[in-house]
């Protein structure tokens, strides 16, 4: 095997904007590709989160039971976990649903059962948690990359630090918003 660092990216309840900002590294992506391997991500075809990941980048808040389980799995198989973007860091936009209770929320979106509609979906979809949570409320997080989304330069700094084995606490903080 190569000695490339094993990087994973994963998407909980976010808008994919953080992943798009990751891709905004543009040509640098291909250069980094020589030094790191994207072992799990919506961009690659692996279906199971692998063991021995050096850095997992998690976008989005924890909104459903599936999100929570996914976050815990990622934590257990990764050396470092980064909360990427304001949704993962604070709850941000998905957290705006927290002032409504779930029954009310789903009815507002899907209608009430009985009006010519079946009501909110219940089969084969993961149930919502009572509250949408930032990532650190579910699992331990090693580094926070705020921003909506964090700029591509933030990803570059984080990846370089991990590639060089530097202490992540020395990373300059990025701004929110």
């Amino acid at each position: 095997m190569t000695n490339k660092k094993r990087i994973a990216t994963c998407w909980l309840d976010g808008c994919s904007g953080c992943h798009m900002s990751f891709l905004d590294m543009d040509e640098l992506l291909l250069e980094l590709g020589d030094r790191l391997e994207l072992v799990y991500s919506p961009l690659v075809d692996r279906k199971e989160f692998p063991d021995g990941v050096d850095l997992a980048l998690l976008e989005g808040a924890v909104s459903t039971r599936d999100d929570a389980a996914k976050a815990r799995l990622v934590r257990s198989r990764s050396r470092l976990v980064a909360a990427v973007g304001d949704c993962a860091v604070t709850g941000n936009v998905p957290g705006m649903r927290n002032r409504l209770d779930n029954g009310e929320l789903l009815e507002l979106v899907y209608g009430r059962p009985g009006d010519d509609q079946p009501g909110p979906p219940t089969v084969d979809v993961p149930p919502l948690l009572p509250q949408c949570l930032p990532l650190h409320r579910e699992i331990e997080v090693d580094v926070f990359l705020p921003g909506c989304p964090p700029p591509a330069s933030g990803f570059v700094r984080l990846l370089e630090a991990v590639l060089e084995g530097r202490d992540l606490t020395e990373l300059p903080t990025l701004k929110f918003g």
Binding site: W11, D13, G14, C15, S16, G17, C18, H19, M20, S21, L23, D24, D26, E27, L29, L30, G33, L38, P42, L43, V44, D45, R46, K47, E48, S63, T64, D66, N92, V93, P94, M96, R97, R99, L100, E104, L105, L106, L108, V109, Y110, G111, Q117, P118, G119, P120, P121, T122, V123, D124, V125, P126, L128, C148, P149, A152
Partner: protein
């Protein structure tokens, strides 16, 4: 014994989803369903927010096409203010939209779909990604990254930020465009156009390898919904909402955005967070239609820009009578639209009026209701808002491109799974004992996912209501009882 196979997660798509494949006693496909597993809730939590917040807030439904949400939302807000926006603001919004069309289509074609198209549906799953393409055909990966970067930089140069810029506002845009910025963008165009043309030629060159996929990836008659441009041109920002039938005949052309609900209805599915819109008079079965690049080019008679028109002529030859019906050709249509968008960017940047300093109309809340419709990269996008006396949002409905395609995606999955399982040589071996997962050729799973990738669905976006899309295959009895789940690794191990 009847079984269900689940593909989870669907990868190289924008969102979280799962596919369930239902097999009867004889292991023949009885149904195939796409479950979208992320819920977002925008229609609920936007209530009570000031209308001015809506463009920037609803842009967060999607990080891939935030510009589309900005535009549809701002158009709905223009109606709430009851203003006519300055001409330069409209030109700049159009320009921004073309920039997004380029970046989003580049992402779909190069970053997500090109591994299937250029490395092959049965290529090693470990290589079937952008990095695999970069290793095998570095120039393709570089072109894709450059085209995406060009679109993203155009957005940044106009709007200040690549993702979720706040520049599009109710009443127009917040800042005019400087001439020197226009010149910088213009200087990059020729190289981008060359890259787009080269890759269209590359796709045309490999089409013959995909005859089976073209024949079965949602190759069926349907309606085609898109904004109608003047002179039969494709239109992305404003215009009547028009639906064509499977032969290309007009079913309706609606100039008043607010009337969309007369023609379109939405069905809630019990097993997906994604709703299914359909043409109201015909019901969900008959009233299925498609949106996006394929629909827009099927609805257009000419692009009105030279290189895109040449490409459109070749595209027409794919079908001897009427619209091009296979969803496989979304990829083809997407590359033509990249070319068309690049040519339109050149046109707009050459117009004096684009640089006018008056770019925003200001007013308070003047109308109780507003509807904005535009064409997102994936298809027609509708934002519909109601406000109270204070200008606070009291009702929201959003119909999103991927939603329009929901029925067609499901029917396409069924068609492809029948072709490749029932009629193909794709061995599907039932488990000998109930505890063991069944063996499925990996290439089959990838083909089903590839059906979904044709539509370039954006699932976090489409379930603005709640949202996720990975792919898994689940095994169930016909009664619905769960038997097991197949992931790609397991399937590959049984190959």
């Amino acid at each position: 014994m009847a079984t269900t196979i689940s593909i989870d997660p669907v990868t190289r798509i924008e969102g979280h989803a799962r596919i369930s494949l239902y097999l009867d006693e004889n292991h023949r496909v009885s149904d195939c369903r796409l479950h979208v597993t992320q819920f977002r809730g925008f229609e609920a939590f936007c209530r009570g927010r000031p209308l001015e917040e809506m463009p920037a807030l609803t842009a967060r439904t999607c990080g891939i096409c935030p510009v589309s949400h900005l535009l549809a939302s701002a158009k709905a807000c223009d109606e709430l203010l009851a203003v006519r926006i300055p001409p330069a603001a409209e030109l700049l919004r159009r320009l921004l939209n073309y920039g997004q069309l380029v970046q989003s289509h580049a992402l779909s074609f190069f970053h997500l779909a090109s591994p299937d198209l250029l490395l092959g549906m049965d290529a090693d799953p470990g290589q079937r990604n952008l990095f695999g393409v970069a290793a095998a055909m570095p120039e393709v990966a570089r072109d894709g990254i450059a085209l995406r970067r060009f679109g993203q930089q155009l957005i940044q140069r106009l709007a200040g930020k690549r993702i979720h810029p706040a520049w599009v506002v109710a009443g127009g845009v917040s800042r005019p465009l400087e001439r020197k910025t226009g010149s910088i963008i213009l200087a990059e165009l020729p190289a981008m156009l060359t890259a787009a043309r080269n890759n269209l030629a590359r796709l045309q060159g490999v089409l013959e390898n995909f005859q089976a996929e073209i024949a079965s990836f949602a190759n069926f008659p349907s309606g085609y919904l898109a904004l109608a441009g003047t002179g039969g041109r494709p239109e992305y920002y404003d215009g009547p909402l028009r639906l064509l039938d499977q032969r290309g005949q007009e079913l309706f052309s609606e100039p008043v955005a607010a009337n969309y609900g007369h023609h379109l209805a939405e069905k809630v599915e019990p097993d997906s967070y994604l709703k299914s819109p359909y043409y109201r008079p015909l019901g969900p079965e008959e009233g299925m239609y498609r949106v996006g690049p394929l629909a827009r080019l099927n609805a257009a008679t000419a692009c009105g820009t030279p290189t895109a028109d040449e490409a459109l002529a070749a595209f027409r030859e794919l079908s001897s009578n009427g619209p091009v019906a296979s969803s496989f050709h979304y990829h083809y249509a997407r590359l033509i639209e990249i070319i068309h968008a690049l040519e339109k960017i050149e046109e707009l940047l050459g117009e004096e009026a684009t640089y006018d300093c008056r770019v925003r109309a200001t007013a308070g809340a003047n109308a109780p209701e507003g509807t904005g419709i535009c064409e997102a990269p994936r298809g027609t996008l509708i934002h519909h808002y109601r406000i109270d006396e204070q200008g606070l949002i009291s009702g929201v409905n959003m119909i999103i491109a991927t939603g329009h395609n929901n029925l067609a995606m499901n029917r396409g999955l069924l068609q492809a799974s029948r072709a490749f399982i029932d009629d193909g040589d794709m061995a599907l071996v039932a488990p000998t004992d109930q505890a063991a997962p069944p063996a499925i050729r990996e290439g089959l799973l990838n083909r089903l996912e590839a059906v979904i990738r044709c539509y370039d669905p954006c699932l976090s976006c489409s379930t603005h209501a709640l949202g996720q899309m990975p792919l898994a295959v689940e095994l169930r009895r016909n009664s619905g009882e769960f038997i097991g789940r197949v992931t790609r690794e397991m399937a590959a191990n049984h190959d």
